[in-house]
Symmetry: C2
Subunit: 223 residues, 2 copies
């Protein structure tokens, strides 16, 4: 079994996370690195989606991945198997990553020449939404089995996300999931949110997300 | 549409949550009220399971329910329809409930003569596990679509839970979910955890949970 580096990241000593996040974003801009913050509940399919995206993009973009978890390294091992640089971040029980923890992760990853770095945040629809990590964009995954009412109950997550992937669309027939209502609820929180229905397991719809992301990275580097 | 009372609960001013929780538990013992803390990820089926349990138990036990959410009152409205006393607790963005917030909820619910009060905690596999609410027992729900590896990634939740319901067992054929491995991982965290596979949607297996809970309540009152 492949082994990956595990880095223990510590909570910030800085009071002003927003300022730290802006600073990190500016530095990444100068280096031409696009940082994507990927958030969702536990088990929504972050790692599977990411594996699909990497396989679609790795020939064109240099990619690095930071897998944040409270414990275990199963996700970083999975991502490593795609051939991209991956590091596991352990948060020591913390339920989210702030900008300082993200910076520690980037240093550990040594993402010097990467075009795209994805931070897979801790599985949690609440706390990660409260902390700007320094990412260019926030992406959330909501999976069909979780239910279409989640944007009503977890408003901040959908408010701060630029893109929402609705995953596990293949099992929609077995659940009472209303895609139209879900879209409506997401847009109540953020009218500009881009929504992609996907099935990470089969790969359905993931190409559209990959295209969106490629354009994002190119715009960021080209601005 | 039914309306329910919404109570804004405030974070504790007490530094020692554990002591506050023990105090609350003792008071509930004296009053003969059994408090169950129900936790899970968003969309694992807490409210549906609870509705099933209430319908099986409400003729024998006097039940009250506190529905904690960051926003919305959809769950308390659903529970109210079963005829039991329900209150919606809003946490003002907080990702968990502590003992003091639970106490505020109990006072708002006015659960004077209840045999059983269920606190449906904020949907989150991380933070609620860190705070003793004063409950007699902690119950977690893990649903099949979330994956059997969750006890590896969210250790504390499964460590503090006395009972784990594995929900949505009806869709197991459509997911790569290994019940044997899941059981093994849960018992790595807590060897004494009682595990019930259920399908809240159809009601399969919920009677066993109801029987367990009835016995728990009777033992608590009879001790």
């Amino acid at each position: 079994m492949e082994t990956v580096r595990i880095l223990e990241v510590k909570q910030s000593v800085f009071a002003n996370n927003d300022a730290q996040a802006d600073k990190l974003r500016q530095e990444l801009k100068q280096k031409g690195i696009y940082l994507l913050n990927l958030m969702s509940s536990p088990g929504s399919g972050k790692t599977t989606t990411l594996t699909r995206l990497i396989n679609l993009l790795k020939d064109e973009l240099k990619i690095g991945v930071m897998e944040a978890d409270i414990d275990s390294d199963v996700d970083a091992v999975t991502i490593s198997a795609t051939g991209v640089k991956a590091i596991q971040l352990h948060t020591g029980g913390m339920c989210h990553l702030d900008a300082s923890m993200t910076r520690q992760g980037l240093e550990g990853l040594d993402a010097g020449e990467a075009d795209l770095v994805v931070l897979e945040n801790v599985g949690n629809l609440v706390c990660p939404a409260e902390f700007d990590t320094g990412a260019v964009k926030n992406m959330a995954i909501l999976s069909v089995p979780e239910g279409h009412d989640k944007p009503l109950k977890y408003p901040l997550m959908f408010q701060v996300c630029d893109v929402v992937l609705i995953n596990k669309i293949d099992v929609a027939p077995y659940f009472d999931f209303d895609l139209k209502k879900c879209t409506e609820y997401i847009h109540m929180r953020n009218p500009k949110a881009v929504i992609f229905p996907i099935c990470a397991k089969t790969g359905d719809g993931v190409d559209a997300v990959a295209n969106w992301l490629k354009e994002e990275v190119n715009n960021w580097k080209g601005d």
